[in-house]
Subunit: 402 residues, 3 copies
């Protein structure tokens, strides 16, 4: 009776790779199609030419929300659209950049920026944050200095396994699973399995990340979710709506505009980024959220996570010119994006035991009218539960090197 | 009546890519073919295997002059042939090297050399010349040291757009257009559009480069055209014929042979390169030229440019062994190929305003008999117009760090 | 009468590339098949997806011994199987890694490790051994500091030419030939031609490497064969059986277990590698061998070489956890894997004259019963010929920087 509604598109171990793939209700058998609703499609393509040559992309359309996942770039969420609104941002790096094109050591360890254009980029697993020297044990057991580059390697790691599934139901669920391994001899060994899920007709998307330490020894672990949004959610007068318990500027530059931390400026050529570190309020079970709300209050993009999994949060403002990457980042993470040595000293680097898996649950949601925005504002208020918001006028020692 | 005689082979934005393509009179409809003359062909191929894996090449033959353009390597002009003479040089790097194979930071910032084998290589857009540390503003607005590597990145940037056209006429024109973007967040944003043109049956080739600053802020810009020729144009007794107003050795090594600057030696294993900096004479409209003339004076390769666009010129002698890259470079540029910091101090780094385009017109020409060579010698004399040539015996402070 | 039984799969110069290829007796004509025996097959595949995207692999099965050669990784010998025993090791880098994925400068010059998972990896040609600064003459004839990274570049150089042959006989011979060029302007120019050979039904494999200096000037040359074996040949109680004349610990860490140098430990998470330098005894013609023998003495993997070609030998113990790369390396080489500057001072860097070829003959053999192991033990005894084994308790100045 049942049809197999899952397709393995990549499996390096078993030498499986599907270059082009497409599924939608019309290509399913009638019984399967009946259980999966209408209006959705999933298409997998291999890009060719330019810096995108060899980049696999999976375009998902659930009938209301569409988005593109990039297996070749660590299953990053490139961009999408919901209710006609563009989700993502316009980076000066206009195309998906194949990791082979990127030299992470370049530009003083900022080479990762060459491909930075996704809506959601994972930053980890061995490190994230600013580039800097770390001291680690080398293959000879000696302490050696190594350069940790901006935001780590996982976003530049192509998936070794990719699977697509349709799970019949009312509504049906679309699932994209990918596996990346950041692992080599004498180094940490991470296996990240991510499972994206969206339901047909929904304005929501979720993903569950499971990071396994598959070595025989304990290892450090860091992860940050760089969730980036530009126009139309971001504009002059947009605000971040979130249950903030405490917020502090990262540095003197951010402190300049501490009093207007919730709000965003219109595009301004040459603007220098401002970054704020946040202790976010959460429900008793750890769940919490942040919304980027447009000026009129009729559009919002919401990020949901669990503070028990991701205790730290950064708000990144980069309201530069529209051609230069006008964007804000809402960034839940295991840590603040400082150099790893600093985060380790502050106790914000996770230790994973041999064989241990760290699970992270995230959600994205897009609202397109005043009622939707108001409902989220109300939810944020509930989560905050009347607690005060402490606004630090200057960087604080627990979060910034001062 | 008219047929569409243009073909887009790559368009990353619109997910267009043609792996193999070929056009010649016999595959055109009879009307179109009638307007395009005979004997020409254009073939596009994707190389596979070795360091060339994934490199796109376009082989053009206009019936007399044939050449290969490499979209994957910034639309570089690899090599060619005219009247049976090989155009280009035999580099120890024998095959087109995919940019993904190259680590520009390697070998003290000389990693670019791994793929250096083209007849014409663009060096830019943010820098060219010797590797060295520069001090730039980083994403936090702070001054940071970054390594600028040899000759910049544009030659290692695959084209995101490639188009081929035949423009009927008598003779017909063959046009190859390519677009590269050297652009990322927090960095300059260049879009280089190059348009190669040759006419059926001609011994000439031209290209027009347009470099757009598509950021919202001003940016620096540097460009050098590394035009390289080996045998048979280069041999013991070859000379550079050009309207030189002033020439100086780059360094003490070049000064050793200052008195023989116009002439070239036979191949000599272990020869150490010599480089001379030139102020070239030009016509009132800026147009000028330089010829590499063989010993017998019956073969010449000519480079044409506009001094208003490219005010500086370098003559690079690398008359090493034939297996080691026996070659000379005739190199018109916006600057001399010193470290960028030095060129900036001397006022030789261009500023492009937001939205500004810098246009560069270049020509290559190949003559194969004494009359042709003599005509160019006469033209050079005309351009010089009786002005004297100043020969500096030692490096001069305006051009070299001394 | 004869059929052509050779197939060129890659020839970059002539734009030949075969993506998928398979040959076995059933696809040959009956006459050819008759001369080639049965049970063998050769399959060439291009891997897709993950870090292996674009990696060519050649799977050879001679009916008893099967193995995989990777043209894209310098014709490395990935892994294999003989008499049902796995040949190779389980690296944390689980898949063949395309060289384009590797930044050799990363991790303090240890970036090569990202792809380190082969059974036999060539380390050279300009350097091998530990990363470190070298001082070489640059293009301007000046002494410049360059970073030599771990184990050089040849294993990360894709073959520009690959040919498969069946040579009829009783038994028939299977031959895989590959050519790599490590060569660029202003740098050494090596052309490495390797010829793998195995006979149908054999438990042996051999390869001949020929390294040509195709420059017009002399050049330095270094080569090490990193032959790596894990389970089932390696286990607690395995031993290295070899005609050792002298053995010394590389460093204090290795000296800790000097008295048990021939034997191996069971897997142990967090074990720090130990490396021993050896002067190996050889026959008058230079031929010699080393065996990794399992605890029960019923399995052995043998490496054969010629001491006149490869005078130095290293024993590398990395008996870490099974998930972390439990392995030992038996490593004949032109030198010890110290920094090149040290080896040069000790006179262990080869000079190749212009046009000179250096030939290296190697063999691998796998025995699967007590008689086979005993025969090798006996052969080792013969080669040693009663000479004593000198065991240095501490590092010695001729081999280690102490």
């Amino acid at each position: 009776m049942s049809e197999n509604l899952s397709w393995v598109l990549t499996d390096v171990e078993n030498r499986i790779y599907v270059e082009d793939f497409s599924v939608n209700p019309s290509v399913l058998g009638p019984r399967a199609a009946a259980g999966c609703g209408g209006g959705w499609s999933i298409t997998k393509t291999r890009l060719k030419g330019g810096v995108s040559d060899g980049v696999d992309v999976i375009d998902v359309n659930n009938g209301r929300l569409s988005f593109t996942v990039i297996p070749t770039r660590g299953m990053g969420f490139w961009h999408g659209s919901c209710d006609g609104n563009f989700i993502g941002w316009d980076s000066p790096a206009r195309f998906p950049v194949h990791p082979n094109q990127i030299n992470i050591l370049e530009q003083g360890g900022l080479g990762w920026l060459k491909g930075f254009n996704e809506c959601v980029v994972r930053c980890g697993c061995n490190s994230n944050g600013a580039p800097g020297i770390d001291r680690v044990r080398d293959n000879n057991g000696n302490i050696a200095e190594v350069m940790l580059t901006l935001h780590g390697k996982i976003a530049l790691t192509p998936a070794c396994y990719v699977k697509i599934e349709i799970i019949p139901g009312d509504p049906a669920e679309i699932v994209i699973t990918g596996v990346m391994e950041e692992s080599r001899c004498f180094c940490p060994q991470y296996r990240l399995t991510t499972r994206y899920s969206t339901f047909v007709g929904s304005n929501k998307l979720s993903f569950k990340d499971q990071v396994l330490n598959f070595a025989d020894s304990p290892t450090e672990f860091m992860m940050l979710y760089h969730c980036n949004f530009g126009s139309p959610y971001l504009e002059g007068g947009s605000t971040m709506v979130a249950p903030v318990l405490e917020i502090a500027p990262r540095d003197a530059r951010a402190a300049e505009d501490m009093d207007t931390w919730p709000s965003y400026r219109a595009p301004e050529a040459g603007y220098v980024e401002q970054c704020y570190f946040v202790d976010m309020g959460a429900r008793a079970d750890g769940t919490t959220l942040a919304m980027l709300r447009n000026a009129a209050g009729d559009k919002g993009t919401i990020v949901r996570w669990n503070k028990n999994q991701l205790p730290c949060f950064s708000q990144w403002k980069h309201t530069t010119g529209l051609n230069e990457g006008y964007v804000t980042g809402l960034e839940p993470a295991t840590n603040y994006p400082n150099q790893k040595v600093f985060e380790r000293e502050r106790g914000r680097v996770v230790t994973l035991q041999a064989g241990q898996t760290y699970t992270i649950d995230m959600g994205l949601e897009f609202v397109s009218d005043k009622a939707g925005v108001a409902a989220i504002e109300s939810e944020v208020k509930d989560v905050l539960g009347g607690r005060a918001t402490k606004v630090d006028p200057q960087p604080v020692a627990k979060w910034s090197a001062i």
